[in-house]
Symmetry: C3
Subunit: 350 residues, 3 copies
């Protein structure tokens, strides 16, 4: 029996299958520093222990997207090593704040399977959950990927397509325990635009661009222990449909999140990801820009000091976002990411 794994193929999955993923991971302040160097994150809550402590937390929390990438990475060897494409995300909720020194594990449940008409691939739907060392769920999300079949004629399980929410309900967003915005300092955070300054329909060009280097996306993707070959193996990729290594989609999400600080300075927590699509692959040399549209704003019954802003952030390559390019338009081929998510923001009462 071959000891090295080639990953699962479509016919290897079973509906309801519960997969405990390998490689538990402690996220340390070293990982946070690398994350900072890779993206240049500037949200004050994750940048400064003193700032986070002033807001009731015990120290600066780990960026939720770093946590997402680590949990996602654990699921790759069993879920998407033989994936043709990452098709989508849904119902991603951040459930507990994570702090440097916490240790995480991940597991996935297969919640849907559907063979494609070609008979060569199928779509696998999983719900992946991350847990910390206390056994608490810190993160849960659904994703679906198109996975190759090992053998075109293989018998496949019955089709089941799960239903997922179009968006996480604002009332289901978790506000980190202990968070208290009475000590929030807008000047240090970088803007006086708090929750109440954002209106549905508003568009924000985040202006700045960042060029991706191969070493950067490789360092990032290894930091997340994500083993997808497409990101690392230039020889193998020469014969792929892309002809070169492509960038882990989550790298684009974090780049866009970092660039979006300029205009969303007080959007201190990504509380949920409602959906996301990697419209085109990115490669080293691409320069990423992004813009955001406010889709919705919601207040909470229980908390007058915090609101939720739902955003659509679109990232492009090599074209500015001054004209708000979107999928379906003339610039379709330049669109990298179309992401729908909820941010928590302090409210103006401050």
């Amino acid at each position: 029996m071959e000891k090295a794994s080639r990953g699962n193929f479509f016919e290897d999955f079973r509906l309801g299958q519960d997969i405990v993923h390998a490689v538990p991971r402690t996220i340390t302040s070293g990982d946070v520093s690398l994350y900072s160097a890779l993206y240049g994150m500037r949200f004050a809550m994750q940048s400064s222990d003193a700032f986070a402590i002033a807001c009731g937390l015990r120290t600066a929390p780990i960026d939720n997207l770093l946590l997402f990438h680590v949990i996602f990475g654990k699921s790759v060897p069993e879920i998407s090593l033989n994936a043709v494409a990452n098709l989508g995300y849904a119902e991603c909720r951040f459930l507990e704040p994570a702090f440097p020194g916490d240790s995480f594990t991940a597991r996935s449940e297969v919640i849907g399977l559907r063979e494609n008409s070609t008979g060569k691939t199928g779509i696998v739907y999983v719900r992946t959950t991350g847990h910390n060392q206390h056994g608490a769920a810190v993160l849960s999300f659904v994703r679906w990927v198109m996975v190759n079949k090992r053998a075109p004629g293989a018998v496949v399980p019955e089709t089941h397509v799960p239903t997922t929410a179009a968006a996480v309900s604002a009332q289901d967003l978790r506000i980190p325990e202990g968070l208290d915005f009475s000590g929030y300092d807008c000047t240090l955070a970088g803007s006086r635009n708090l929750f109440d300054a954002y209106r549905p329909g508003e568009k924000i060009n985040h202006i700045d661009g960042m060029t991706i280097e191969a070493a950067e996306h490789q360092l990032a993707t290894r930091l997340y222990q994500n083993t997808a070959k497409a990101h690392f193996d230039a020889v193998l990729q020469q014969s792929s449909r892309f002809g070169q290594r492509i960038v882990y989609g989550g790298h684009i999400i974090s780049l866009a999140r970092s660039l979006s600080y300029n205009g969303l300075e007080n959007g201190c927590f990504v509380a949920a990801i409602n959906g996301g699509r990697h419209v085109n692959p990115a490669a080293a040399g691409d320069t990423v820009y992004c813009w955001s549209e406010v889709l919705d704003t919601q207040m909470f019954e229980s908390r007058k000091d915090v609101g939720a802003v739902r955003l659509r952030t679109i990232a492009t390559k090599d074209i500015s976002c001054a004209d708000y390019p979107a999928p379906g338009g003339a610039d379709e081929t330049a669109i990298l990411l179309d992401l729908d998510y909820w941010l928590l923001m302090p409210r103006l009462s401050l």
Copy 2:
């Protein structure tokens, strides 16, 4: 109102203006590791907790230049986002040692303004100060930058050019509290050349060279949360006068500091920067070399175990420093940096 900031232009500044910069920052041991990987620093005091503890400190201090870059980075969005050039530094003093886990903030006072004769730009002089979480000032420096005007015809403030000291007086240098060189180990530090071995006029070729990669300077500059577009946006830079991304000047300072270990092994603290000039911009692919000249040596009344050595370090690109090339000479176009600073060194009585 546009939410994303495009930074201040010359006519936005006022003499005496006090700007509290955004994005407080905790510097952790993770940041120190990245700094180490980016430059290969080998000064024992910052490299080993055990070594620093033997010298009376509570743990290895953060390299003063890392602290400088972080405080500098905070000032970029409001001071130099629209800068044409970083013209100079003066009166940079390191006031308190910084340790991993400390959280920093920065503020700048506008101390001078002068419109250029073209009417298109002006020079902004600021004094920037970094504070730690206890409110203590850890670093203060003056810098002046040439900043674009938003509108050529805009009314500008009255001219005021501040006077700055040609050099920090040795008696104003701060010796880190608790520092005690009686436990200093020259062998571990890498040389028996202590303070008394250096004489004014002496020149040291630091021999080694280091080639800059784009991923490296981008990682560094993001680590410092420095947002200047010239370092990150290859598309935008194609139409700049440089035609490509250029390297953050502080990256060259740290590279030169690291290379200068070979010959200045016991120069364990940069105590002050008297002045500095980025003679030419650097780009990925350049190989950096450097040499130093001893400008002055000073002893302290109160401390017989420590002396201060004033150095001029010149960094070049792609040419060796065996012949001590300097600005104004035949190799002018190969000079990157001309830096004047004070180092603290243990004395021979050891």
Copy 3:
């Protein structure tokens, strides 16, 4: 006297010479994060504090190869700065586990010297030992390097070629104190293939490949404070026999170790390196693959829960390892590394 060092030449060494190396070094969790980002290590023991604690350790230990690179790096300025080639390793034993926060120093004893027949170079054999802040030896290894003579006619010491063991005896391997595999979780570690699943003669293709970027190997090599010019100075290397910067050999060892996780998931500690050869140099752009052969398996009298597996791991560039290419074969020029080492693994009784 020139203050900057140009390193030792062959005629500078004396048999029995004891060299205390400079630059003591604390390895922090930040260094561990960088190591993770550079190689994508996935061995659970070093990845998760919670996993390591469940196995009786006080926290996740530092990867033994990271420790090796740091101790090796300290020896470079005095042993191999003028080396033409790293010829071999022997008797490398890891003696005590190392944890983030430990501070290390290194010293080397010259145990052999032999001038080459050309009269231009000689071989220097050293035994290098690393110590932690408590004075305990953590690592010891022999290496031999071909070093240039300063002057071809220089008088050289008498020839002495030391004898080194072909392999470390399994009974001399150190099992980390406190290690207890009763809490070992195979699922989290990534495989049910424990010690008893491996048989001498078995070959494992580790499948995956990883392309090296210049920024990556430079960051790694600087992290180890290794100053060998061949890795950093592109201008100097243009006139070398390689024509370009070459990758620190230890970088290939760690890449191979990381790739070998796929098939050796439970090989949680590198306990010894019996020998190693860098068959060909690697450069940025090379894609590394590797395969392993089980050379031996050994059990311990005192410990029924742990066994030792001796492996030969061969790394290649730009060719897959499906056909198990080896030195001496048709693919000789594509072989980067031939490494012989002992892994500790939990036993099936679990």
